[in-house]
Symmetry: D2
Subunit: 144 residues, 4 copies
């Protein structure tokens, strides 16, 4: 069971470095689930004015990673082995939401999915979907 | 044939919005090829101090997109349909380089590959590889 | 709207060539959905006795393709641009079921998902999941 | 170092079950490399007469798996975690060749690439490319 203290830790852990720089925020976290949002600014777009595929991919990857984090004890860190993302519609608008969930929790390999929605006038539209393969690594193996 | 004027245009076009915000720089552009670099700063990392997978993915996607751009006339824009990226080694160090090339140029679908290297003491190490599927869209269909 | 005649045509069309050789059977077809099954035989396995990843991939791809077929008129053929599949658990047992559905139907690009379940003692277990990107091609462009 | 005896074992191991049923043959094996071929028959095609994407995917996966096998001792088995394949051109003709090589050999995760060529009149054409993520599993953990 994941306790509240761990959930609060993960919410803070989430926004370090690049994700904080991008502006991702945590909306919700529960066992095997993680939801994040971002308010779109000009620096998030690409040459045609749409939200950049790279930003969406970063959001999909990072949120999926933290959905995996909610299924492991503090003794493990999570690294992305690979991911694949399909961009279904050009993303426009004021906000994006990303919902990730663990699809399969193996012994060391965790597979999660992320769905990214654009939000305009309270209406959500699915703009991208990703499958993310992650690996549990003993925290002790990290020498920082 | 791609002319110098078009190459110079694409180099400038590349750094708009999110890629400029991330700090990607164009190193080289030629027909079906594009090379970029980034100097790693603290805001590019993840919770364990490595370069964030999302930043690497954004670099792989955007550089691949511009390698595709070098194969089409000004009448077309390029959008990413999907991509897949494998992270081979944790990326550390001062700089990353991304080399993208077009693998297949179809009638409307272009497939490109990106290899991302970390650079330390003049030594390159392959840290990630991506396959990117792109589509040519008539520029006239974009109402900005 | 897809009519019964078209559904019956697609069910027969499905089992030609390689899918028939593998032993895939159609269980259900509706707009944007397709479900197939296979009875596992020794020639479907790999070196460790599990169902071969390649057979599962072929089932995921072909069933997804036909879920896309149910969303287009007779003037179009469907080709797979690319797919990605995760194998979540080793697949064992007597039967596999594949359920595919269209995730997004664009102007020419269709994205579908396939879930493959092993079935033992009436219990289903999700063993693999795929995302498939397909393209609509005018039937008239095929010279057979 | 991989010795001749191990190479000969892998060549025989390769054609068991589904790959043998499909008709794949081993052409070459060396450390981190594997090459296979297939003579195209009517049962390998899809509804439009091209070689079926599923057959090509099975060939890409299995050949990549054995390229990974050449980098591990007999104490390990290899399982596919996931793969992604792009179909670049419709595959026609008498034969296909698949060349796989290991891109990165980690501690437990191996990433390999497969290129599939159609062969007509001695000319090779690249028709598909796959990236395959594999995991080393201790042979002792398999109870057959």
């Amino acid at each position: 069971m994941i306790d509240n203290k761990r959930i609060e830790f993960l919410k803070k852990d989430f926004v370090q470095g690049f994700p904080g720089y991008c502006g991702f925020k945590v909306e919700y976290a529960g066992k095997g689930k993680f939801q994040t949002s971002i308010e779109i600014r000009p620096e998030h777009t690409q040459q045609d004015g749409f939200v950049h595929a790279g930003l969406i991919a970063a959001m999909a990857d990072h949120t999926a990673g933290y959905s995996a984090f909610t299924t492991v004890s503090e003794e493990f860190r999570i690294l992305t082995i690979e991911f694949k993302i399909n961009f279904l519609k050009p993303a426009k608008g004021k906000n994006l939401i990303c919902r990730s969930k663990v699809l399969n929790r193996g012994k060391t390999i965790i597979v999660a999915e992320s769905e990214i929605f654009s939000v305009n006038d309270m209406k959500e539209k699915l703009v991208a979907k990703a499958t993310v393969t992650l690996i549990m690594v003993p925290a002790s193996s990290f020498k920082r």
